[in-house]
């Protein structure tokens, strides 16, 4: 499916997060947990920055280079994981995220990339 056809397939929630991304950060404090996944040559690059206190994410921020789905998934996840424990973040349900954002099957890799970035941010932590 080409770009033109896919434009018709952006769900309202994807468009909303693409147009008004939540929790975009300029940089990440040294005290925060940060992680990234992907590369520009792979077509998407996602970075998360998590402020964690007592094993709970108090604030999540992101930056992303990629398609509208990539940006929307990362933006949506920052809202979803705020207030959650680190261990919950490490076991996110891919089906649920894809379903919430009404992602077409060929865009599930955007969720996988975001999950990888979150795992990278939380690696070495165990609560």
């Amino acid at each position: 499916m080409g770009i033109e056809e896919r434009q018709m397939n952006y769900s309202n929630i994807v468009i909303d997060h693409f147009e008004k991304p939540r929790n975009v950060i300029e940089g990440c404090d040294e005290s925060a947990l940060s992680g990234r996944a992907g590369s520009k040559s792979a077509g998407m690059l996602v970075e998360f920055c998590l402020d964690v206190s007592d094993g709970v994410i108090e604030h999540a921020g992101f930056r992303a280079w990629g398609c509208p789905h990539t940006i929307a998934v990362a933006s949506w996840l920052t809202e979803e994981i705020t207030g959650k424990g680190i261990n919950e973040v490490q076991s996110l349900d891919l089906d649920m995220i894809a379903s919430q954002l009404e992602l077409p099957a060929e865009k599930w890799n955007c969720v996988l990339m975001a999950e990888d970035a979150l795992r990278d941010a939380t690696k070495g932590t165990s609560h």
Partner: protein
């Protein structure tokens, strides 16, 4: 929902109302609907007269004679007829063809087909700005070279090739020269009485005429022979059989007539609009023009934006009807092969958009485009991770 600002005239143009009005006269019972091949009655002969008048109009824009114009279904068919037709007819002379990597797919895929039939094809890589140096063509020529095919204006980046020089070179080596002029006819001056071109492809729908009609110029002096692709009836001097679509042909003729009348004024106006557009979007920073900025068709601009991803860019700019790559290849979602051939890295090739202005583009359209592009590129860069 408000329709987007149309900036994709290189993909196709709306039919000029004057052309549509002309075409209407060739469809219904009260019009000239007869088969132009029906020479046995006056209605057919009348239709034939209009077909020949249109042939003259197309020839006039190209500086050709009417008998050198062969009707086809469009530039893709013209390219196929020119390249396959020449390769097949002159197969005994040689089986080597020279073209460029930045040609339209209608040329490249045709050459690939000929490779599968045993021809050898040399694909030249244009120099940085997208221009094929005639010396590259000279260096690639062999004793068995039968055809060189280089386009006039590139469909993605709009640069103008030195077809006069390449044609001269081909003539001096007794090699046929085909030129795909789908993007240049009516926009850039063409005078085949002075340009040594043997075969030239043109299209109706790029010049505010209808889709589904095109023409191939086949040089009469020196006389070029082609093996036809379509048989059945011997129309068009045996080169392209099939009932002539009078309404399409009359429309293309009228479109070419108007283009000839307005080429200077329109070119000047579009050049000014394009410069305004370029100057406006360049201020956002990190913008590069793909292809030589000076030697290009008046309304075409192809730019890449550093720090933004292609699909997001295109979606963010949906208020503008622009194109990523050419219309014929953008649906594949690959980075443009033309831009990659020019050495652009994949991520920059993918964040490139082609904006092509045309007859109905306005100053206000350009203002809107500048504002939207500046706003959206800045926004996407704010989100982007380096």
């Amino acid at each position: 929902m408000k329709p987007p600002v149309y900036m994709d005239y290189a993909a196709t143009t709306p039919v000029d109302p004057r052309v549509a009005e002309t075409m209407m006269r060739f469809l219904t019972m009260d019009g000239v609907y007869a088969n132009p091949a029906s020479s046995s009655h006056v209605l057919g002969r009348t239709a034939r007269g209009y077909v020949e008048a249109a042939r003259n109009q197309v020839a006039a824009l190209l500086g050709a004679t009417a008998r050198e114009i062969v009707w086809t279904s469009g530039a893709t068919e013209s390219n196929n007829l020119a390249i396959k037709g020449a390769a097949h007819f002159y197969a005994d002379k040689g089986r080597h063809i020279i073209t460029s990597r930045t040609e339209h797919k209608a040329v490249l895929d045709t050459c690939k087909q000929l490779e599968s039939e045993g021809c050898e094809v040399t694909y030249l890589v244009p120099v940085k700005d997208g221009i094929v140096d005639p010396q590259q063509v000279a260096d690639a020529m062999r004793d068995d070279t039968v055809l060189v095919s280089v386009m006039h204006v590139n469909n993605e980046i709009g640069v103008i090739q030195d077809v006069a020089e390449i044609g001269q070179l081909c003539r001096s080596r007794n090699v046929l020269f085909h030129c795909d002029a789908a993007q240049s006819a009516g926009k850039v001056e063409i005078d085949l009485s002075r340009m040594p071109v043997d075969l030239m492809s043109v299209s109706g729908h790029k010049v505010y005429g209808p889709k589904g009609i095109g023409a191939l110029y086949v040089c009469n002096e020196p006389c070029v022979h082609l093996q036809p692709l379509i048989h059945g009836g011997g129309h068009e001097r045996g080169l392209r059989s099939g009932t002539l679509a009078t309404h399409q042909i009359a429309g293309m003729g009228e479109a070419f007539r108007i283009a000839g009348e307005e080429i200077d004024a329109e070119g000047q106006r579009l050049r000014a609009l394009r410069e305004k557009l370029w100057n406006g979007i360049a201020t956002v920073g990190g913008v590069q023009c793909n292809g030589c900025l000076q030697t290009r068709a008046p309304g075409m601009l192809n730019v890449c934006f550093e720090g933004v991803e292609g699909e997001s860019l295109l979606f963010a700019l949906r208020q503008l009807a622009v194109s990523s790559g050419s219309a014929c290849t953008s649906s594949t979602n690959e980075g443009s092969y033309v831009l990659r051939a020019l050495g652009r890295p994949d991520h920059l090739a993918q964040s490139s958009i082609r904006m092509s202005l045309g007859r109905f583009s306005t100053d206000q359209d350009v203002d809107v485009a500048i504002e939207v592009i500046r706003e959206q590129v800045t926004r996407l860069r704010t989100i982007a991770v380096c």
